[in-house]
């Protein structure tokens, strides 16, 4: 340092310790000006801004927490309702299935009964037709047999004898050929 100062003395008086009392005063004035400006206008505003932000963040966080709780409640409610609705719909489907089953069974039973009725009617009709056919056949046979018999015996029979002979023939025929 001493060397440095010595050199400094030689070269245009470079001396970092040369008295500069003016600078001392200027420094104080400049410092007071900066201090007044910062302390009065800057730091309070900055502090206020920071405090405001802190408050806002805190409020927002609290609000977010409240919203979250509410959302969770709503979600829970919704889930409950959905599961309720699902149960209800399952019940409805089950009921519908049961009633459809019932309707099907009823329909089957009804149609079976109807079918039976139709079948019965048909059978009765068939029976009646058969009887009618048989009776017609009987009449026809009586006529034919008379004709045949008269041709065979070559003689006229009185109606009473004729009827007797026919009935006798029929009875014989019935005995021999009737299935029942």
């Amino acid at each position: 340092m001493i060397h440095l100062l010595a050199v400094a003395e030689e070269s245009e008086g470079f001396n970092p310790l040369s008295p500069e009392m003016g600078l001392y005063v200027w420094t104080l004035i400049a410092f007071i000006v900066v201090f007044a400006a910062l302390a009065k206008y800057v730091f309070p505003k900055l502090e206020e801004g920071l405090a405001d932000r802190e408050r806002r963040i805190k409020e927002d966080l609290e609000k977010a927490e409240a919203t979250k709780t509410e959302a969770e409640k709503i979600l829970e409610d919704y889930t409950r309702r959905v599961s309720q609705a699902r149960e209800e719909s399952n019940k409805i489907i089950e009921e519908a299935r049961q009633s459809a089953d019932q309707v099907r069974k009823d329909l089957i039973a009804k149609s079976e009964a109807e079918a039976r009725l139709i079948l019965g009617k048909a059978q009765n009709q068939l029976e009646a037709e058969k009887d009618r056919a048989l009776s017609e056949l009987q009449t026809q046979l009586a006529a034919w047999s008379t004709e045949i018999a008269s041709k065979i015996v070559e003689r006229e029979l009185d109606p009473a004898t004729q009827k007797e002979l026919v009935e006798k023939f029929i009875t014989e025929v019935q005995k021999e050929g009737s299935p029942q």
């Binding site: 001493i2 500069e20 009392m21 410092f31 900066v34 910062l38 730091f43 900055l46």
Partner: protein
């Protein structure tokens, strides 16, 4: 380092009769009055506008402008510059003031300590701006003005708060000490008290001065190789430029650190004066 400077200066002086490059560079470290500035001499105080005064006001203006731009209308969601200012502000507030003082004292003293920090940092920094090139804090009268004021303020406050006698008794006599040791301890405490403003001023001044001497030395190398092209140019200039860049970055760091140290120690001294004997 000093012998190197001397050698360089001597060589430069020999090389030319007119002011050597070295002398020109070193003149950057001395305050000098501008040609246009009138001479204002009031008794022992030369209040003429020198480059030191100009740069000091530049620093003061920059601090105020910086906060005017960044913090006059603080936004809830800060943009880049406001964010940067708030980070530095919070750093000084939390890591320096609230770290040392009680919350109540810290609230009162933050504006003062904050001003010390920002003002000193900006004064350290303006010296690194090209064309302005003089660091006000590399003059001991600037740092002394701040250090002595802080110390006197602290001591004055302590004396007002606790009474002159109680304050000095609590400050100079460590608690729970055998009476036998008092003749030894009191002078030590007096020296330690006197050393406070002195060390505060010298630390800042010496750091900033040394910083700029280093920067000027590396620039000086470039001037010293001369204007005639030689092999030396290829070797010296790149190395000097490299070191210049590295040390400029380092100087920004030192500017910040020294401002932190000054603010931190000021806080400690004021806190000691507010609560002596702890």
């Amino acid at each position: 380092m000093s012998s190197l400077v001397r050698t360089l200066a001597a060589e430069a002086a020999e090389a030319a009769e007119e002011p050597s490059p070295f002398e020109t560079l070193m003149s950057h470290l001395t305050p000098h009055r501008y040609g246009w500035a009138p001479e204002w001499q009031f008794g022992p105080f030369d209040l003429s506008i020198t480059n030191a005064v100009f740069n000091m006001w530049l620093a003061a203006g920059l601090v105020i402008l910086m906060f005017w731009i960044g913090a006059s209308k603080p936004k809830i969601v800060p943009k880049k510059f406001q964010n940067f200012l708030e980070v530095v502000h919070n750093f000084v507030k939390d890591n320096i003031v609230y770290n040392v003082m009680s919350a109540k004292d810290a609230r009162t003293w933050y504006p003062f300590i904050g001003t010390i920090f920002f003002f000193i940092f900006m004064m350290n920094f303006v010296g690194l701006i090209p064309y302005f090139g003089f660091t006000p804090t590399s003059n001991i009268f600037v740092t002394a003005a701040l250090a002595v004021s802080v110390y006197l303020l602290a001591v004055g406050l302590g004396m007002v708060k606790h009474g002159v006698f109680t304050f000095w008794k609590k400050t100079l006599v460590p608690p729970d000490i055998p009476k036998m040791l008092l003749p030894l301890m009191i002078p030590i405490e007096i020296v330690s008290q006197l050393a406070r403003p002195f060390s505060l001023a010298v630390r800042l001044f010496a750091n900033m001065l040394a910083d700029h001497i280093i920067l000027l030395i590396f620039v000086g190398f470039i001037f010293l190789v001369g204007t005639t092209f030689s092999l030396a140019h290829l070797v010296v200039i790149p190395i000097a430029m490299l070191f210049e860049v590295v040390f400029t970055a380092f100087a920004i760091f030192v500017a910040f650190i020294q401002a932190v140290i000054f603010a931190f120690l000021s806080t400690i001294y004021i806190n000691d004066a507010l609560h002596p004997g702890h």
